[in-house]
Amino acid sequence: MVQPQQALPEARSDLRNGETPMNFKALNAAVVICGALVCSGAGAKELTIGFSQIGSESGWRAAETTVSKAEAKKRNINFKIADAQQKQENQIRAIRSFIAQGVDAIFLAPVVATGWNAVLREAKEAKIPVVLLDRDIDPSGKDLYLTAVTSDSVHEGKVAGEWLVKAVGSKSCNVVELQGTVGASVAANRKKGFEQGIAGHANLKIVRSQTGDFTRAKGKEVMESFIKADGGGKSICAVYAHNDDMMVGAIQAMKEAGLKPGSDVLTVSIDAVPDIFKAMAAGEANATVELTPDMAGPAFDAIIAYKAKGTTPPKWIQTASKLYTGADNPQAVYESKKDLGY
């Protein structure tokens, strides 16, 4: 359906140049027929969706791109990805070009929360629905997009906290916390959620909390200092890390200090990257809460329903925060995740 629209302006410009219009009409018709043939071959109207992705900021982001490509293929969607290299101006340019191409929908993983209203209004005027993936934008743009598919990072922290409450039972437990980057909303939310999860259980106490900047190296360094400040780490009963990478570093620090993570010290972290499953399979990690890389799947379904039946999805589609433990066959999960690009 898109192809004839693209062909028309070309034909018109050529008309202005005084060339024979007949050939172009014929060409136009041919394009329409071709388009129709492709469509009937596919069984249904093929959707074209443009996705403005942030760029390679993390392994999770790479996995999200891989998974969304696979999900698009499953649904027979013509999926175009524009890599913004972490720059908002690139994302705005990509959205404008998607609008010019007349795509059926635009997915946007916004690199920042503000500054989207102008370009999203252009999309709205062109009647192209926009779906936000993974991150939300400033509330002033609420009516400019169709829906946002994101994970609830407070809920993730809560799931982690609730698992620890169950795992510990009634014995008293000193928890140390490795926070994400200071000032990152994810870090603040995962901290809040965890505190909600363990609220009302006086036997669990967060004794130390420091930032590990979401990295393995800092996670290891901070955990080393926690162990030493505690005089060997004997009274640390559990570690909670705001992401798996810091936990992988912390596990190394514990092993080097002669502690046994996974048995002496319980571990729970968030993200579910492949390497934490490797540690889990080796009995060195206990639990992780998944931040699913499949944000595009629910977004595709929402767009398909919206296009076919006109169903308006809810303003916020929350992805599941699935808990994985050693009982979930970590080796198999590792194998399934290791090639996603994490």
């Binding site: 930032t211 190296a217 290891k220 080393e224 200092s225 190394q252 080097e256 994490y342």
Partner: protein
């Protein structure tokens, strides 16, 4: 004459740094009673004090390369990115090649990066801050290309030993840093090279006219810095048994410059001290470790760090020393 023999002579140069380190150690052991505790764990020394030296090793290695450059009135902003490149190369090759080959490739890459910077500065006459900014930005991209944006992990225990193993009861990074310090000292101070570097930094044109091969020396000094940065990158990657191109060495160029400056080397060039630059790196790390041990909320980290750095630099300020002298003289 006899008086001189008995008086306990403290080195005039480096007093502020040594005092600062001792004060920070004292504060740390006040904040965390276990700070000075040492024990042997799996055949190596274990304790917060060891951590300060161990975690400070990458920045100390960077400072060893950075100090001569700053003495030449230059600067190298690319060392963090070079760390990421070397780490990425080492981690990608570790499981398929012998350790020697891995090290040669990673160190070679660092050397090439340093040569590139040196050529831009010495032959093309670019401002060092601009010339090295190019690699600072592009280098991280190169590292991300090598790792394809993922964290590349390896299982090669020989390479891991460089980061988390031990030698003579000390963590390997400490031994490596000491060895590099001694080697750099021998090369720079054992010959006239140090003097030539300082001469070039003091007045490049006059030195060239006096027959100093300023271009060759400049290129060599940048290449050495690249090599040191590559070694730091290998140590950092070996430590976590993986290369994290997005974060390895991120902002460490600033810590390295700070370490050199805390070590009393002037950004205007002309003189430098390798030992004090390493001491500067230890001061920064002692501070970081102290903050981690203290249990302060992490929002305080940067403020505490800034205050301590300010205090150390103020203690070195000649103007401030002059002011103190003036006040003392005024007293009857």
């Amino acid at each position: 004459m006899p008086r001189k023999a008995v008086s306990f002579v403290l080195p005039r140069l480096g007093m502020p740094q040594i005092v600062a380190l001792i004060i920070i150690f004292a504060i740390n052991s006040f904040l965390s009673p276990h700070f000075l505790e040492l024990r042997v764990q799996d055949g190596r020394l274990f304790g917060s004090l060891v951590d300060v030296f161990n975690r400070g090793a990458p920045v100390a290695l960077l400072a060893l390369g950075m100090a001569p450059i700053i003495a030449m009135r230059g600067i190298d902003l690319s060392v963090g990115a070079v760390m990421a490149i070397a780490g990425a190369i080492a981690a990608s090759l570790a499981d398929s090649h012998a350790l020697g080959f891995v090290l040669v490739c990673a160190l070679g890459a660092g050397l090439m990066c340093g040569l590139w910077n040196g050529v831009l500065v010495a032959l093309l006459g670019m401002q060092p801050i601009v010339a090295t900014l190019i690699l600072m930005v592009a280098g991280r991209g190169v590292a991300q290309l090598i790792t394809e944006g993922r964290i590349v992990t390896f299982a090669n225990t020989d390479l891991a030993w460089l980061g988390s193993g031990s030698l003579l009861g000390l963590p390997t990074p400490i031994v490596l840093t000491l060895a590099m310090l001694v080697l750099t000292l021998l090369v720079v101070r054992g010959s006239a090279l140090g003097l030539l570097i300082e001469a070039t930094g003091g007045n490049s044109r006059a030195s060239a006219l006096a027959g100093v091969g300023t271009r060759v020396i400049t290129i060599a000094v940048y290449a050495w810095c690249g090599l040191c940065a590559a070694l730091a990158g290998i140590v950092a990657a070996a430590d976590i048994m993986g290369a994290d191109a997005n974060n390895a060495g991120l902002w460490l160029e600033l810590d390295a410059i700070l370490a050199v400056v805390i070590g009393g080397t002037s950004l205007l060039g002309g003189r430098f001290s390798l030992v004090l630059a390493v001491l500067g790196a230890l001061i920064i790390q002692a501070m970081n470790t102290g903050i981690l041990l203290s249990g302060f909320p992490p929002e305080m980290n940067l403020i505490v760090k800034a205050i301590v750095v300010l205090a150390v630099l103020l203690a070195q300020s000649p103007r401030l020393a002059g002011l103190g002298l003036l006040l003392r003289r005024r007293r009857p």
